[in-house]
């Protein structure tokens, strides 16, 4: 089972984990992305996320389907935030349950690594004295 979402509301980690629970699963692996306070020594004030929502949902779904084909997993959840986030807020939650832990760990890592490469979502870091779109320039 797959659950994909882009939300303008705060992500609820507990309910994400509860969704992934299953009698067939012997383990649940969770990745929680959080907004860090510093980038290259500069204080981060906030992050602004932009998403091409229709395509982003498709790409997130592809990731979930790919990892279901690669590993014996039970449930996969990928939720991502849109909008303005502050330090400590949660931009992304990925939860993978599986019968055995190795598949859950590997699939969860694949999901976050691939999301960062393929899903059309962009973040702008806003500092006290400026701002930048992450990864935009070499």
């Amino acid at each position: 089972m797959i659950d994909i979402k882009i939300s303008s509301e705060p992500l609820d980690v507990s309910s994400c984990i509860a969704w992934a629970m299953s009698p067939e699963a012997g383990g649940i692996d969770v990745f929680i992305g959080t907004v860090r306070n510093m980038t290259k020594g500069k204080q981060v004030v906030r992050l602004e996320f932009d998403a091409y929502e229709g395509m982003a949902l498709k790409e997130m779904n592809k990731i979930a389907e790919d990892l279901c084909a690669k590993w014996p997993v039970t449930k996969v959840l990928i939720h991502h935030r849109a909008g303005v986030l502050s330090v400590g807020d949660i931009p992304v939650v990925i939860v993978v349950s599986a019968a055995h832990r190795a598949a859950a760990f590997d699939a969860c890592r694949y999901a976050i690594d691939t999301l960062k490469e393929t899903v059309p979502i962009w973040k702008k870091e806003v500092f006290e004295d400026g701002e930048q779109w992450v990864a935009a320039h070499p």
Binding site: D50, A51, H80, K116, T118, P120, W122, V134, A135
Partner: protein, 78 residues
């Protein structure tokens, strides 16, 4: 042809969409060239992709009338 823009591309265009003359680009690679000429700041990006109907386009992917076309600057989700 209307091109959707996100992230830094929206700031470069100064708008969420940009209009490209119909017939000036029939493939994704041609559209990249046309956009780079119109908006030289795009050439300073690490890279940028074109999406057609919500899928990443290959350079030779054809763009047809009515397609949803978007410019995808380097992604940075997560």
């Amino acid at each position: 042809m209307k091109v959707l823009a996100f992230g830094i591309a929206r700031e470069i265009f100064g708008s969420a969409t940009v209009e490209v003359a119909a017939g000036s680009a029939s493939t994704a690679a041609e559209l990249q060239d046309v956009l780079k000429l119109q908006y030289p700041r795009l050439a300073q990006l690490s890279s940028f992709m074109i999406a057609v109907n919500g899928e990443y386009a290959q350079p030779g992917t054809t763009i047809n009338e009515g397609d949803e076309v978007a410019i995808i600057p380097p992604v940075s989700g997560g």
